[in-house]
Amino acid sequence: MTAEVNEVLLRSLTPSVLGILVRRGADFAAAEDAVQDALVEAVRVWPADPPRDAKGWLVTVAWRKFLDATRADTARRRREDLVDEEPAPGPAPTVDDTLQLYFLCAHPSLTPSSAVALTLRAVGGLTTRQIAQAYLVPEATMAQRISRAKRTVSDVRFDQPGDVATVLRVLYLVFNEGYSGDIDLAAEAIRLTRQLAAAIDHPEVAGLLALMLLHHARRAARTAPDGSLVPLAEQDRGRWDTKSIAEGVEILQAALARDRLGEFQAQAAIAALHADAPTAEETDWVQIVEWYDELARLTDSPVVRLNRAVAVGEADGPRAGLAALAVLDDALPRHAAVAAYLHERDGDLATAARLYAEAAQKAPNLAERAHLTRQAARLNARRSR
């Protein structure tokens, strides 16, 4: 009998298996390598010989891999201690282990790119090769990044409570990277955030999960078949994933009812208001502006105020939007694009076309550059007609 190994299910066992090894006395870096080896072996062996207890199998194999590696090591004293020490069975507090792993992999001593890579490997169970492909870097580079990250956190005690906010920032970064190669990073971020939400009761974790679900629901509508961007107002709302939206809204409402507002809940609320509008014209921009006000209060971020200017332009007219924009630094990313949009709404097509072309020059990626150039072209074509 051969069956495909359910890779996502297999990977979901990674954090609890790793947690058990660490609790048995393995150091984090070696335990993490051993768990990776066990995952690779599972993919090889399980199709012909599926285990009855998948997690038990992984723990046994990973522990054996760990002991083999330790034996091969020159650290003899440590080896003898560990070989004598038979693994204690008994219930392992797996939820806490999972949570501790998130904290460790998002430790403030790590750079964002290291924290992302370590989280995807140690919590997500992805291989170094998969992570390297997803971030378009050579595998050797990613391997170095991960082993450096493991060294950085090697002295962190595993039972130290961490800061949920740092974990959320890492998961948000993974989500925003979208997808390239075989691994869908957005879907992986949702899976990891869902797993985190099961391990800790925290309104901002719920807020981030809701935000991801609401954005992910629009993914199919966000790009045209030729790969070009479709702005929110022009998206075919029939292609939005209503199941994902319903789940996001439900999670968000439960979080908001706790009355401990945070930036992810506020962002999710804005996404929910967009998702709720049957057509772009029916969007409740007044409420969206109110949420941007909350968000600006919570984060003090100029990017938030830039987005707020767009919402003000919709709620109170383009002149009001331009007034809100006027107080912001025009070096902000996407400032020219927002200004172009508001000037077009205000009927000043010449200024709008010039600003779209300028925005295209500053675009952070090719898809946006093409989109903004097309906007400039559209207005120039209309003006010369």
């Binding site: 295209a360 020059q361 097309r374 400039a376 072209a377």
Partner: protein, 135 residues
């Protein structure tokens, strides 16, 4: 096999035949152009000749060392006269003739009026490896 770098310039190459700034094209002409570029890369992947392709933002800075204990000196944005690379594609092909053929195809990407841009691309051979058999 030999590797070649195909360089596309924002500025600095001789003027293209169909030299109209992109924001003066029709929107559908831009779409057609992007599609052509994507198809070209996909086709080279299929023939086993594609190595890498990247696009660069027109913004940038010159940087140089300024001595022990001092921050590097930066100079930018680039002057209007600077030769400015827009992007590259690395191909691995059997001959110089094949490299020229492919560069020619890339230069035929459609532009304003749906007509080929006839853009000048820079074709640069990589230094090869020391051969194993030397005599």
């Amino acid at each position: 096999m030999a590797k070649y770098l195909l360089l596309k310039h924002y500025r600095g190459a001789p003027a293209a035949v169909n030299d109209v700034p992109m924001d003066q094209w029709k929107p559908e002409e831009i779409t057609a152009h992007v599609q052509y570029m994507n198809d070209f890369a996909a086709r080279l992947e299929k023939t086993g000749e594609f190595v890498d392709g990247q696009a660069l933002s027109p913004e940038g800075t010159f940087v140089r060392y300024d001595g022990e204990g001092r921050p590097p000196v930066t100079d930018g944005p680039f002057a209007e006269t600077k030769d400015l690379i827009a992007g590259w594609m690395v191909i691995d092909v059997d001959s110089y003739e094949r490299a020229v053929e492919l560069a020619g195809e890339l230069s035929a990407a459609p532009g304003a009026g749906g007509k080929p841009i006839h853009e000048w691309l820079e074709l640069r051979p990589f230094y090869g490896v020391q051969p194993t058999v030397t005599e």
